[in-house]
Symmetry: C2
Subunit: 215 residues, 2 copies
Amino acid sequence: MPTRNGSKNKRLEKEKQILLAAEKVFAEAGFGGATMQLIADVSGLPKANIHYYFSTKEDLYRRVVSNIFDIWLQAAESFDESSGPAEGIGGYIDAKMEISRRHPMGSKVWASEVMHGAPVIQDYLEDVLVSWTEGRIDVIQRWIDDGLMEPTNPRHLLYMIWSVTQHYADFQHQIETLNGGQPLDDADWQDAKSNVRAIILRGLGIDDTGNETDA
Amino acid sequence: MPTRNGSKNKRLEKEKQILLAAEKVFAEAGFGGATMQLIADVSGLPKANIHYYFSTKEDLYRRVVSNIFDIWLQAAESFDESSGPAEGIGGYIDAKMEISRRHPMGSKVWASEVMHGAPVIQDYLEDVLVSWTEGRIDVIQRWIDDGLMEPTNPRHLLYMIWSVTQHYADFQHQIETLNGGQPLDDADWQDAKSNVRAIILRGLGIDDTGNETDA
DNA sequence: GCATCACTTGACCAATTGGTCAAGAAATTT
DNA sequence: AAATTTCTTGACCAATTGGTCAAGTGATGC
């Protein structure tokens, strides 16, 4: 049997394997409730081996959270490369809904971290998130000044988009319970997406000319 | 010195004192991260005394969560006693925003519990929340059928209201960081409330005839 | 004054926690 | 094939955890 391809990145592969298990455990139990032993079990590795790659629990946790933060920021691209509010805000909503669907555990870890006062990633909040938010507020304000949408406080508009889209990840369990114990299927997600998009865009007085992105 | 009035409810007062401390600790650390010792310290009582009133950590936690659930449901009253969608939905949004402002810790405990799969209050979800939600969906659907608001999936509309209003409690820390490290003041809250209300009602095609409740 | 009750609390316990370590197994380099 | 580096792992440790318990204190009723 030949050597596995990509054998050089053995360390990276192992780290990914551990990070995936850690994300799951942190999402389900929170930082305090998660145990290194459980992360070890889920990843199928002995506990001491986890500590070989990540020296402390907090190290591992920090890596998980910052991974999520990167995904968060990627959704902003559609915002920037847009020609106007319909494409920009609509696309941003679609992108964030898609993240909630594909990375619900990551979203939960993030929510948990922030809810508990962001003890680990406060610097991220103060640096990256603050400046990112200010930049987006400027873009929205310009759209308002140009009469492309109803006057609104851009800051609270962003909060609304964040909360609604992330709700589908963070409160996944509650939503499934209210859905008869079943996960949302394709049609449900399509419904959710178009409802969120429609209400917000109409609420902003933006004409949504059916250019939904279909991830 | 005369006997304190209401001395008979000594037990109830002590329980309240403990529950208040517990709510704070559970909100800040999550169930797993919270320790009975810390709850004892915050409430100013020896740990063994806490266990006299609440036999286990889970008992105490259950009491905290169900207290919050009751407050949750109270906000629904304005929904029922309404004459139409403007008053019903608008009032519900106002009431839930007010709860987020007055009981942010309770909201966090609830969010944490649901995010981790609702291990303790799953029965509440399946019983009370499911039937409450179905009742409210019927009301909204009737408004839609009567042409009082734009056709919308009532279920996802409820999710939107829940997520946006609770966001101001659950992500309080993030919001404060984005607010220059300062808590929202009266004007900020008024701004938040009217923005949320305006976007959602306009998004539903409801004429909001300025009957905001001023809690 | 005495008995019964509710309450308080320091000391304690078994179990679990995050983290260490040394001995070795594999892989890589020379 | 020897040497060196990277990785693996069971056994272990000090600290902390939720929870117990028995000896007390204070009040209430008789």
